[in-house]
């Protein structure tokens, strides 16, 4: 992977004119939103749009404006708690930057885009799709979708691509988020969902948090962890930074980025050596232990320490606590998963869970913490490149036949699996893909090696973006269609625990904007291929999704809007029918997976795991280092992540004034020892350079990070974007990009960057 640095100029444009016309500008509460004692027209119970926890909340609505939020104390997951994003999410609605019309690219217009009639924009879009597909084949038009959409919309997106466009190439931005966990879970358990409800954290004796900045990325989980600790739990945190959750943990393992598999192999080695193993469980419920045991023999504490950069005694302590625990919960997030070895990392963590036998019981749990609003539901129902609804496989003939039957089409007409999101960009670069529709995806900010992404998007014959704000990616579009905000539509979302919750509509779309699914159906109609895309409401889509998912692993057939409302959410799998003698899940669905004696459609009673023999798999996980390691030329590790006040590419949160004020701009975080060597003081401008690009930011000099690593949060665009530097190396199975490790060099900047005087912090 290591090669020469790029010589061409990789500096993104400042785009000042477009920013002037379309933002991001900051919204603050004013007028009706500041009036006190105002009586809202209604309180709408719904959930937050800004992370996979899906906090329950109530939106206060007056005259079609969301004027604020109110805690929803009864919702059991968060009981009224919210992070700053949830509290201020209402400021995204009735925002001055909101797109009220369709737009066409027009160099002569202010900001580069000219407002146009919605119908004409739909017509032009359909004509372009038709032209590209009839000239270059169906696969020459690709679709990128997102995991912050309701499950109903993700279902429609999959159906639109596979049935209407008949293109193989649809993928989604969960590719940057959840896929390593998904693939690892499928390989180990045969199912991809958090194994336990969060309640099980409360009773766990040892909590191991690996690569999850819980306090900033899943803030509500903090109270679960703290509460467990009040009751005596020991908390172990694995992270290259002392994040707020690590600050008071019982054991901190400062892993060198990219070395997680080595750590878990080393822990398993010690568990085996001390016989901290549940032999009966392994015997009865798993396969693969012998091979894994043999493979970790070489992972002595000494070797593990050398590779991971963690002290021997800390590794021993972790193994002892984990090995001898009565109850435990292991959770991980992108820190473990955003690697070219992401799936292996996940499987190595699962190995220590399975070896302990502590799963499928109260207070014994395992979960990945989802990131995006619908990180869970968004990856289940057919907008992944190889997937059909219900977690079914596009490559499986039986699955194709079942779904094609529900959709009323010939299974042979369904496309074969396509390629992942980044590969779609590569195919755009090579000219194989000529047209693109994106919804809920901001690739220019969120994909690695963004210089390459920008160059590729410029090559598209036709790019149509559906969005509520003109995202940085939409600036590359030929047509922009005004879509819907979370509060302008209804549906369901599946939150981090696997609980399906209801999103309720609070306000109507403004101007010519409309619900995303209507836009998609309008395009289908203009193409003359509206068959199967004539839904009149999200409820109707959900009813079809129930049928389409029935019998699959992600079975939603027993879930209804009413049942969700009645029970504060329903956990899938929730089949409507099971064979005689098998009990149906309780009113809340399947709350905990893998309980002894539980039935599932794959094992059919053979065991609790989702394989024909009902047994879980331990997978051999040989350690392989990151794709781009440090060397003399680029001697420092760059790792990236989030801050609590921003969400993903920031298209929404960089427009919300109070959130931007909290953390206006990204800083490059480094240890004082590294800073001293580089002659950089806190607050100085520092330039980080990788083989792919460079980025100048102010330095934040803190002892809470490994001295061999620098950290940059990734929510900002253009010249502030961490993804100018990151590498597009991907996991061979999950295709997740390696956001968490690449090699950089850092120096004190010669001068403040041009953007500092030209742009506001959020731009």
């Amino acid at each position: 992977m290591n090669g020469p640095a790029r010589t061409t100029d990789t500096t993104p444009p400042l785009d000042r004119e477009t920013i002037g016309a379309f933002g991001p500008h900051l919204a603050y509460a004013k007028d009706g939103r500041l009036d006190t004692g105002i009586e809202p027209d209604k309180y709408v119970k719904t959930h937050c749009c800004f992370c996979g926890q899906q906090c329950g909340m109530q939106l206060k609505v007056k005259d079609n404006v969301v004027i604020g939020v109110e805690p929803w104390y009864e919702f059991p997951f968060n009981k009224g708690m919210m992070c700053p994003k949830g509290i201020k999410r209402y400021l995204q609605q009735a925002h001055p930057d909101r797109l009220l019309h369709a737009y066409a690219k027009d160099a002569g217009a202010t900001g580069g885009f000219r407002a146009m009639a919605y119908d004409a924009a739909i017509r032009q879009t359909a004509e372009a799709i038709d032209r590209i597909q009839s000239t270059h084949g169906n696969d020459a038009f690709a679709v990128l979708s997102g995991a912050s959409l309701t499950t109903e919309k993700t279902y429609v997106m999959g159906k639109f691509a596979h049935m209407c466009l008949r293109t193989a190439h649809i993928d989604y931005n969960g590719r940057l988020c959840m896929v390593s966990a998904a693939a690892g879970n499928k390989k180990a358990f045969g199912i991809d969902r958090a194994a336990n409800p969060w309640e099980d954290i409360l009773g766990a004796g040892v909590i191991l948090v690996s690569g999850a900045n819980i306090a900033e990325c899943a803030p509500i989980t903090t109270n679960y962890v703290w509460q467990a600790r009040e009751q005596g739990a020991k908390v172990i945190v694995v992270d290259p930074r002392i994040t707020p959750i690590a600050r008071t943990c019982d054991l901190f393992l400062p892993v060198k980025p990219g070395r997680d598999t080595a750590l878990f192999n080393g822990i398993l080695h010690l568990m085996i050596e001390h016989d901290w193993i549940d032999h009966a469980f392994l015997e009865q419920h798993t396969v693969g232990f012998e091979a894994v045991a043999a493979s970790v023999r070489e992972w002595t504490p000494q070797r593990t320490a050398e590779v991971t950069g963690i002290a021997v005694k800390s590794i021993q302590q972790a193994a002892e606590w984990w090995g001898t625990a009565e109850t435990s919960f292991l959770c991980h997030a992108r820190g473990l998963e955003h690697h070219s070895n992401g799936v292996k990392n996940v499987m190595s963590a699962i190995n220590i869970v399975l070896a302990s036998g502590r799963i499928g019981r109260p207070n014994c749990g395992y979960a990945t913490i989802t990131g995006q609003g619908n990180g869970q539901g968004g990856r289940e129902h057919g907008q992944k490149c190889d997937q059909l609804p219900g977690g079914r496989d596009l490559a499986n003939p039986e699955h194709r036949e079942y779904v094609a039957g529900v959709w009323g089409m010939d299974p042979a007409a369904l496309p074969q699996p396509g390629v992942d999101a980044y590969e779609i960009i590569r195919k755009i670069d090579t000219g194989e893909i000529k047209g693109l529709l994106s919804l809920c995806f901001n690739p220019v900010v969120s994909l690695p090696d963004s210089h390459f992404v920008r160059q590729a998007l410029e090559k598209l014959d036709f790019y149509v973006v559906i969005d509520f704000f003109l995202s940085e990616s939409a600036r590359y579009a030929h047509i922009v269609l005004p879509g819907s905000l979370h509060e302008e539509d209804e549906g369901t979302v599946t939150q981090t625990e696997g609980r399906v919750v209801r999103i309720n509509k609070a306000v109507e779309c403004p101007g010519e904007a409309r619900p995303d699914w209507q836009i998609i159906q309008d395009i289908a109609k203009a193409l003359g291929r509206e068959q199967g895309l004539t839904f009149e409401s999200p409820r109707e889509m959900f009813e079809e999704l129930r049928v389409a998912s029935k019998g699959g692993i992600a079975d939603y057939s027993g879930i209804s809007y009413e049942r969700i409302e009645e029970h504060y959410g329903v956990f899938w799998p929730c089949p409507s029918d099971v064979p005689d003698g098998v009990p149906l899940p309780g009113p809340q669905g399947t709350v905990r997976l893998f309980e002894p004696g539980s039935w599932n459609p794959v094992a059919r009673g053979a065991g609790p795991f989702y394989f024909p023999d009902g047994k879980a798999r331990l997978n051999v996980t040989p350690y392989v280092g990151p794709a781009e390691d440090v060397d003399e030329e680029f001697p420092i590790i760059l790792t990236t992540g989030r801050v609590v006040s921003q969400f993903l590419s920031g298209n929404q949160t960089r427009r919300i004034g109070p959130l931007v004020d909290h953390c206006p701009e990204p800083r490059i975080e480094m240890h004082p020892r590294l800073a001293a060597r580089l002659g950089i003081a806190d607050g100085d401008w520092a330039t980080a350079e990788s083989r792919r690009g460079h980025c100048t930011l102010r330095a934040s000099v803190v002892t809470t990070i490994r001295p061999d690593t620098v950290f940059i949060p990734y929510h900002w665009p253009g010249r502030k974007s961490a993804n100018q530097l990151t590498i597009a190396a991907q996991d061979p199975i999950s295709k997740i990009p390696e956001y968490k490790v690449c090699a950089v060099r850092v120096r004190k900047a010669d001068a403040p960057p041009e953007y500092a005087a030209a742009l506001e912090p959020q731009q």
């Binding site: 006190t36 604020g68 708690m81 992070c83 949830g86 803030p219 002892t703 809470t704």
Partner: protein
């Protein structure tokens, strides 16, 4: 309606994750919309992510009210020290300077002192204050003493503070380790768990993986 006696406010700085949900929530409070009355600071960001949230502690004999020449600050029967009354406040800043916890804020634009009134509009109807509703770590918590004792068995609430010769009793409690002495002068000293201090912290990263000395 008065704030129910059984419901009390507890601050547990050891739990705080610095997320600022409390600050954002405070600006949603109907009694001072748009303004946060909460003080949240890093203790020493160069060396730790520890932050300390401070709301008004609602002193039994509020110094802020005692030094007010215009008698603008009232303590209601239920022990809540209210924000300055607009017609009376002369914006003299005495309270701002006198409060030992640095709570009152002068709104220069409005010529009015504003302070935390424990979301009187909410607490007086039995709801939790906004900050304690939202706080994801429950470093700010609102409930009964019994509930707190059950949920946090290793901590105890303290509401008597010694500042030199001045003893201050407050309505709001600060959670301290159960075996800690009761004279707590400043909230950071009351942290339930010590922060990972500079030394230890440097150690964590500087330890040689093989266990030898760096």
């Amino acid at each position: 309606m008065p704030v129910p006696d059984a419901l009390e406010f507890f601050i547990d700085p050891g739990r705080c994750i610095g997320c600022q949900a409390c600050i954002q929530a405070c600006t949603e409070c109907d009694t001072h919309k748009g303004q946060s009355m909460i003080q949240l600071d890093y203790v020493d960001r160069a060396h730790s992510t520890q932050t300390v949230p401070v709301v008004c502690l609602h002193c039994d004999s509020p110094t802020c009210a005692e030094v007010c020449p215009a008698d603008a600050i009232k303590r209601t029967e239920d022990g809540i020290v209210q924000t300055a009354r607009k017609p009376r406040c002369i914006a003299c800043n005495n309270c701002v300077l006198a409060c030992p916890f640095g709570v009152p804020k002068m709104q220069t634009k409005m010529n009015l002192m504003m302070k935390c009134d424990m979301c009187y509009d909410r607490t007086s109807v039995g709801l939790k204050p906004w900050c304690a509703s939202a706080c994801p770590s429950q470093a700010l918590a609102f409930g009964t003493r019994e509930e707190m004792a059950r949920l946090r068995p290793h901590a105890k609430p303290v509401n008597t503070f010694q500042f030199g010769r001045q003893t201050i009793r407050t309505k709001v409690n600060i959670m301290v380790p159960r075996d800690a002495p009761t004279d707590i002068v400043d909230v950071t000293a009351s942290m339930h768990e010590p922060t990972i201090g500079r030394e230890i912290l440097d150690d964590v990263f500087m330890e040689r993986p093989d266990g030898g000395d760096a």
